[in-house]
């Protein structure tokens, strides 16, 4: 059973109590009416889908009910750490963020497919 540390309950709880909440640290434009359609699309729809380290929102929905953020590896499913919502993106020692090279883009994998 995958255990996830809830920073509000201050202990590891079963994954059954949690729900995934999408990418973390997505900043909403200060005046959403002023942004261009392209900028809105970027903010609203486009996500990086990295291979490796990702920062995500999770919710302890069947526990304390709180949203928090987690740093997770999308390949091994390992949770590096979790932290309370509103806290800055942490630096994780020994783990480098996902780059263009680690991401399997469509162009890289299927771009030349006939």
């Amino acid at each position: 059973m995958l255990l996830i540390y809830c920073p509000y309950c201050e202990e590891e709880r079963s994954e059954l109590e949690f729900r995934h909440g999408g990418d973390a640290h997505i900043a909403r434009p200060t005046n959403i009416a002023d942004v261009t359609d392209e900028a809105f699309e970027e903010y609203f729809f486009l996500r990086d889908n990295p291979k490796g380290l990702i920062f995500e929102r999770w919710r302890h929905i069947h526990g304390c009910g709180r949203f928090f953020n987690a740093a997770r590896d999308t390949v091994s499913d390992k949770f590096y750490l979790t932290y309370k919502a509103g806290e800055p993106k942490p630096v994780i020692p020994g783990v480098s963020p996902a780059t263009e090279k680690t991401v399997e883009t469509y162009e890289a994998t299927e771009g030349t497919a006939k």
Binding site: Y8, E17, H62, G63, G65, R66
Partner: protein, 182 residues
């Protein structure tokens, strides 16, 4: 023609379990879903006559009234004597939100030497004495449903679930109690 409506308890007079873990419906109680910020905790604690717990997985109990920590600003209050919790909350001027959930929830008590094992058959929570001592409380899952679990004694637990889920919870706990005795 019937001139009055009869209230039927959702689990009736059913009883289940095994020799090691008895599963019985708890008596009707009044319940309150309470949300409040840190500055209102003192005033609310005074009004309800018990200290609202502020540590995760803890509860406070005084004379049949229980306050269970559910989240950093959320509590479930249960009064087994049927006291008017809404009336008490209405008299508190400090900013808070109180919702009467007396009839939303159904309580099920599980007691006996195998009570912990019966609940653990469907609940991922660590119920060992070190992690979940007497007085501990948590919202968690039981099989496919969400429950609130309160450990009222060394071999006694109270399971709170939503009314329409109560036959499922009762059946699952009874099965667990039988399995725990094997």
């Amino acid at each position: 023609m019937a001139d009055q409506a009869l209230r039927k308890p959702p689990l009736g007079r059913s009883h289940g379990g095994s020799a090691g873990a008895r599963v019985t419906p708890a008596a009707p109680a009044t319940r309150l879903s309470l949300r409040a910020g840190a500055d209102a905790i003192g005033t609310l604690s005074l009004a309800f006559g018990l200290e609202l717990p502020q540590r995760p997985k803890t509860s406070a109990s005084v004379g049949g009234r229980h306050a269970l920590w559910l989240g950093p600003d959320e509590w479930l209050l249960i009064d087994e004597t049927g006291a008017d919790l809404m009336g008490i909350a209405a008299g508190v001027s400090a900013l808070h939100s109180a919702t009467d959930v007396s009839h939303r929830n159904v309580g099920i008590t599980v007691s006996g030497p195998d009570a912990g094992a019966a609940i653990a058959s469907a609940c991922p929570l660590d119920l060992n004495n070190g992690a979940f001592p007497v007085g501990a409380a948590a919202r968690t899952v039981l099989g496919k449903i969400e429950i609130v679990l309160l450990r009222t004694g060394e071999e006694d637990y109270r399971v709170e679930c939503w009314r329409s889920f109560s036959p499922y919870a009762f059946g699952l706990l009874s099965e667990g109690a039988e399995d725990a005795g094997l």
